[in-house]
């Protein structure tokens, strides 16, 4: 096999592979992108999102109550609030007044059912999206986070 042919083969196979990968990616992106909304974003939307999304904000003080293995709580950005629930063991850093990012779906009754609650490893940490969202709603002063 001549050098030129070999190179052609390599190029053809690479292009084929890249094409296949691009196909896989486009196909996957369509239904696996998870958008991030704050309670204010949700209130401003004309139609509620149908797919899974991430809801971020603070766990409202005094809103947490448990019912069997299910925990009900309210996510707020101090502007708007969304009632939410989660069944399972919550991450150790889930606490009232702390930032939270939950992934799940919004029911027709406006209640958010979380499938997953993201845990942060550090209690001084504020999820970046939550900090941004609070900053937008004017409820965040830089320097609020301990670090």
């Amino acid at each position: 096999m001549k050098r030129k042919h070999r190179r052609l083969l390599v190029v053809a196979v690479s292009l084929g592979l890249l094409g296949a990968a691009a196909g896989l990616i486009l196909n996957a992106v369509e239904d696996s992108l998870v958008f991030f909304y704050t309670p204010t974003d949700l209130a401003e939307r004309a139609t509620p999102p149908e797919n899974r999304f991430r809801l971020g904000g603070l766990v409202e003080e005094g809103s947490v109550r448990t019912e069997g293995a299910t925990t009900h709580f309210v996510v707020t950005d101090l502007n708007q609030a969304v009632p939410a629930s989660y069944t399972g063991v919550l991450p150790d850093l889930f606490r009232e007044g702390q930032g939270v990012v939950a992934e799940g779906t919004l029911g027709p009754d406006g209640r958010f059912t979380a499938r997953e609650v993201l845990a942060k490893h550090d209690e001084t940490y504020m999820p970046k999206e939550v900090a941004d969202a609070l900053r937008e709603s004017g409820q965040w002063r830089d320097g609020d986070a301990a670090r």
Binding site: M1, R3, R6, L9, V10, V13, S14, L17, L18, A21, L24, I25, N27, A28, V29, D31, S32, L33, V34, F35, F36, R54, V64, R65, T66, G68, A69, T87, G88, V89, L90, D92, L93, V101, E103, L118, A119, K120, H121, D122, E123, T124, Y125, P127, K128, E129, D132, A145, A146, R147
Partner: protein, 669 residues
Amino acid sequence: MIAEIGQYVLIAAFVIAAVQSVVPLWGAARGDIGLMAVGGRAAIAQAAALLIAFAALTHGFVTSDFSLAVVFQNSHSLKPMLYKVSGVWGNHEGSMLLWVLVLALFSAAVAIFGRNLPPTLKARVLAIQAMIGVAFLAFIIFTSNPFARLSPAPPDGTGLNPLLQDPGLAFHPPLLYLGYVGFSMAFSFAIAALIEGRVDAAWGRWVRPWTLAAWTFLTGGIALGSWWAYYELGWGGWWFWDPVENASFIPWLFGTALLHSSIVVEKRDALKSWTILLAILTFSMSLLGTFLVRSGILTSVHAFATDPERGVFILAILAVAIGGALTLFAVRAPGMKGGGLFAPASREGALVANNMLLTVAAATVLLGTLYPLILEALSGGQTRVSVGPPFFNATFGPIMVPLVLLVAVGPLLAWKRGNLGAAAHKLIPAAIAAVATIVATFLAVPDGPALAPFAMGLAAWLGVGTLAEWSSRIRLFSSPPADALRRLSGLPRAASGMTLAHLGLAVMIVGITGSSAWRAELVTTLVPGETAEGAGYAVTLQAVTEGRGPNYSFERGTLLIPEDGAPVTTLITERRFFPVANQTTTEAGIHTTLLADLYGVIGERGRTPETANAWTVRFFVNPLVPWIWMGALLMSLGGLLSLSDRRHRVGAPRRAAGAATHTAPAAAE
């Protein structure tokens, strides 16, 4: 006082690195042996200075010197000694110091063990290493000084993040950095070769052991981190396709490709410019990973408090390193002539295919990791998204299938022109094993995901195929046993290493498939003494007791799980409360058998009066999870075994014809 010594030697290391990055290069350009020799001495001095700096910081942690800001923020006098020591790198400043220390140790290793390298190549490699060192030392000194003092000194520290107070995580960062930063060697060799304008088989032989060592460490580091996440986070999962995990996985994928392509350079003098490019990309991905982790720019489940301004500094280093290296590559690479023609069905051909698949896979992971950043930048911060496991499972998984099929075939093909028919003949047992496994798995677990039996078949194909190659190499079945044994002892360790690593991959696929396909879960609340049924088991919360550890208090839950015909399995799980950090962590109770992990955690106590005596209990059956760690262990052992092959250390250090300028003054032979 000791901290001031640390501060002083840190600045000294910066100055030494600056000298080391200029003088040897200049010496190499002028052919001045004396100037080139500065590189080696500077490298050893720099490593010594950083060792002292690191020791000084360790001293600060061990003696709980809270006048140091880092110690105050990350340590506490009541903390056990192991975590005082691991606290040194359990924070931003200390971990960056460890980063440059590892970098300097690798440079010093070149200075000490690289006696048989041509002096110009050695000088240039050391200079490039020093340039990286200068950049990161400047980063440490100007943005994250570990020796910053607090005045007045606080009486006690705020404690290390309790999640990090764990033996698994104490050793995870050093291993990970040995891998991450180890790839700087391949990078420096690549840049040095571009400056010299020559890449040959000898170059391949020099680069390979460094790449192999880095790869082995990185494999161990990632596995250890994953294991930690599994038992410490209490989520029952071991890999989340999280940005911080991907940041270590992308360099691993590129490094794996580099490991294989450097074999082709060494044995066949082909694929040179591609290997150079891979070396640059691999280390660039390590830098990118450092940036992603340290800047906190992506929301990660593993994120720690970070400072975005530091990210800009690393981003600048990243831009200069990648931009500079790729520019040099663009200028110099076209002049490199590849040797060694080969047919598509040959060992080279298989390795080229391996490289294509691995880089495409790495690119998809990279795209998925950076996509949220790109989209947020394009939309002006309005659209915030995250890319989760479904994306990676749908893209990465399918690319791995042809790769795994190929891994069994490649080693059976000869260099230059392989015989596909003969290879196919040797793979008949593998094909039979694969089909048998698919059928058996389908019969055993008929209601699981449809793809799982095929994944198990893939693992059987790879495992049996690898063993078939190994047995044909030592003629296990075609010669008397004594003969085969003699061949076995004569087998090059690099070959045995490959066999082990490929077997490790097969074992790991079994674990990954089992744990993702057939996991069962039970979530409930139980009062002590109560029993719940689910996930195929009856789980009894026997008791919850309270107690105190060295620097925490705990609630210890005892779960009883009776199995048919076996003694009752007891899972001990703890919720630990660390008053200093005001934080709770979970210790999972895990009962491991070869077939499955029984995994239980207790959650919070109920909040209302009626439920005050009940705990949330989460119980998982994680099938085959131990196989993941066994697979990773086999891969690392394979790397170590191959590394111990003496052919990597001696032989072929001298360059082939035309190397008249390379009469090394201190050649090993």
